[in-house]
């Protein structure tokens, strides 16, 4: 639904050049919720602004719903009629809501329809229908200043849906909200994704968001996508950095001659008592250093960091046993993290 190829954005200020995007290839399938995560300055914001060409990419192409937007762009900062029409079919939700304080809630939602030239009666009908959809039917005549943050974002979402888009872009839409409101907004996005078949591309720095609603995710660093795939693929990737971020498990080896192993459970395996089986079968003592268990994209997933007595060489057989049970096992080298990084790069390929 959304495809970018070799997307590059270079900012020039004075004599200096800053590369915000460095050859980003992204593929978002129809009907999925795709999350792009990364720290501030990783290029997430630039990426999402390039998708509807609010930022002109320096090179590369953006295709949304089969239409090559970069070909419509034209020169200069002004958007031509064709690009504007294409944009009206892409909804966008913002971190700071960006509602017009001079307009009522209803009138804010009508704005995109005004731009599309929809008649007054039809605008009103559509706006009220959308307000109902986002659960704010009683706030039509209120001004944005009278709403809470979560309510404002609901209005923002209703406004983004006014042009019946197939694609919704969400630019840190929950970052200014408290955890509870974040959950309700994410739930709303999930519902819209399922009810309307809306494709959602969201950027966020909160792993919680990815865990809660994303089908697929990508990790950005320094303007590049360093890892991407469906959430279950990512969790199944040995040494995946994104998986480790989604499920941070801590803990250091308690001494030398110990082997620390990260075990990832999903699906069936998550319900099996594998650790106690391991302990009984090989008669070894296992200590659990850290563990996390959660539901990701509707599936139960967990990660556990365990410590086995003895060096790695002595534990080849127990580790093999764990792998046989369908678990993904990564031997963590807690002292020198460099090899883990090397593993990650191979995993990403």
């Amino acid at each position: 639904m959304i495809t970018t190829t070799g997307l590059t954005k270079v900012y020039r200020s004075g004599g200096r050049e800053v590369t915000a995007l460095d050859g980003v290839d992204l593929h978002v399938r129809e009907g999925e919720v795709y999350g792009v995560v990364g720290q501030s300055g990783a290029g997430k914001s630039t990426l999402i602004r390039c998708v509807n060409l609010l930022e002109r990419p320096s090179s590369g192409t953006v295709t949304v719903a089969g239409q090559d937007l970069t070909a419509l762009a034209g020169r200069g900062p002004r958007a031509g009629a064709e690009l504007r029409r294409a944009r009206s079919r892409i909804g966008m939700v913002f971190q700071h809501f960006n509602l017009l304080s001079s307009r009522t809630v209803q009138s804010n939602i009508e704005l995109p329809l005004e731009i599309l030239g929809v008649s007054g009666k039809e605008r009103e009908r559509k706006a009220l229908e959308l307000l109902d959809l986002v659960g704010l039917a009683d706030k039509a005549k209120a001004y944005p200043a009278q709403l809470s943050g979560g309510q404002k974002q609901r209005v923002g979402i209703a406004r983004a849906l006014a042009g019946d888009p197939k694609v919704l872009l969400s630019d840190e839409s929950t970052s200014a909200l408290d955890p509870e409101t974040t959950r309700s907004i994410l739930q709303l996005l999930r519902d819209l994704n399922q009810q309307l078949g809306l494709t959602v591309l969201l950027i966020t720095h909160e792993m919680e968001v990815v865990k809660t609603i994303c089908d697929s995710a990508a990790l950005m660093k320094g303007g590049r996508v360093v890892e991407s795939g469906t959430v279950s693929e990512i969790l199944a990737t040995p040494g995946s950095e994104l998986a480790a971020e989604l499920f941070p498990v801590g803990g250091e080896a308690s001494g030398p001659d110990r082997t620390v192993v990260d075990v990832t459970f999903h699906g069936e395996a998550a319900t099996q008592p594998v650790i106690s089986q391991l302990s009984r079968t090989y008669n070894i003592d296992i200590s659990i250093l850290g563990a996390a268990m959660d539901t990701v994209a509707g599936k139960q997933v967990g990660r556990m960091r365990i410590e086995l007595p003895g060096r790695f060489e002595e534990n080849v057989v127990p580790i093999g046993f764990l792998r046989e049970q369908g678990l993904q096992v990564d031997v963590a080298d807690t002292k020198t993290p460099a090899p883990a990084d090397a593993l990650l790069k191979e995993g990403a390929k």
Binding site: N52, L54, G76, P77, R78, A79, A81, R84, R85, A86, R87, S88, I90, M92, F94, Q95, H96, F97, N98, L99, L100, S101, S102, R103, L111, P112, E114, I115, L116, Y143, P144, A145, Q146, L147, S148, G149, G150, Q151, K152, R159, A162, G163, L169, A176, L177, D178, T181
Partner: protein
């Protein structure tokens, strides 16, 4: 004395009214252009931006009394006469347009860039951005700026006597000062204060109405604080306090 005062009042109102009308007609497009042609803006055009900037600065830097006499040939060209209130209006407009244009520029620049981005993401073009986002969002500040402009024009119009423009200022100089009619002088002063107060109150009332509705503070400009109480805090939903502060 009565007809003198009445005529002077009417002359002043005539000059202020028409120069205000033209200041709005000229100042809003100029102020918008100053913002829109700036680097990185919608209609980026460095040449136009610089030219308008220079013209506006020139208009602002000339003392009004000089502008008034310097523009005499121009006034004759435009309104067919170089004396009287109509001629004074020409000079007042030339003086007020750059003044108001700068205030418009400031008001427009205050509009959050995110709102422009939102309008563009919906497929809005330059027209939409100007008429549906920039002007409505800046309205409280524009009204506050207009109030300041009207009061400045009232001050400028006192010099209109130099080209036979009449008005209250001229009356105070010719009768009050030159003929030592202190009573008349005091009456004109009271009248001027009354006009300024009415304009200021009307402007504040309009700005405050919009501000209360939109929850956005108009900039307190110039004299308004002397007469008007502070703009009340916008009404907000109680649960809005935290998230909006974070935003």
């Amino acid at each position: 004395m009565q007809p003198l005062l009445r005529d002077a009042c009417l002359d002043t109102l005539f000059m202020v009214w028409w120069s205000t009308v033209w200041a709005v007609v000229g100042g809003i497009p100029l102020g918008l252009l100053l913002v829109l042609t700036d680097r990185g803006a919608l209609l980026q055009n460095v040449v136009v931006n610089k030219v308008i900037g220079v013209i506006v600065n020139l208009g602002r830097s000339l003392p009004f009394i000089i502008l008034l006499v310097w523009l005499i040939p121009f006034s004759r060209l435009i309104v067919g006469t170089s004396i009287g209130p109509s001629a004074a209006v020409v000079a007042l407009v030339i003086g007020a347009v750059p003044f108001f244009a700068r205030l418009v520029e400031t008001a427009i620049r205050e509009v959050d860039h995110g709102l422009i981005e939102a309008a563009q993401s919906m497929g809005g073009g330059t027209f939409t951005v100007i008429f549906k986002v920039l002007l409505p969002q800046a309205l409280p500040s524009l009204i506050a700026g207009l109030t300041t402009t009207v009061i400045a024009l009232l001050g400028y119009s006192a010099m209109a006597g130099a080209v036979g423009g009449g008005g209250l200022g001229n009356l105070a100089i010719t009768y009050g000062y030159m003929r030592h009619e202190t009573g008349l002088m005091n009456v004109t002063i009271v009248l001027l204060i009354a006009i300024v107060t009415i304009v200021q109150l009307a402007g504040d009332l309009a700005a405050r109405r919009l501000t209360r509705r939109t929850g956005r503070q108009a900039q307190a400009v110039g004299l308004r604080r002397l007469w008007a109480p502070a703009v009340p805090r916008p009404r907000t939903a109680p649960e809005a306090a935290e998230p909006t502060k974070a935003a």
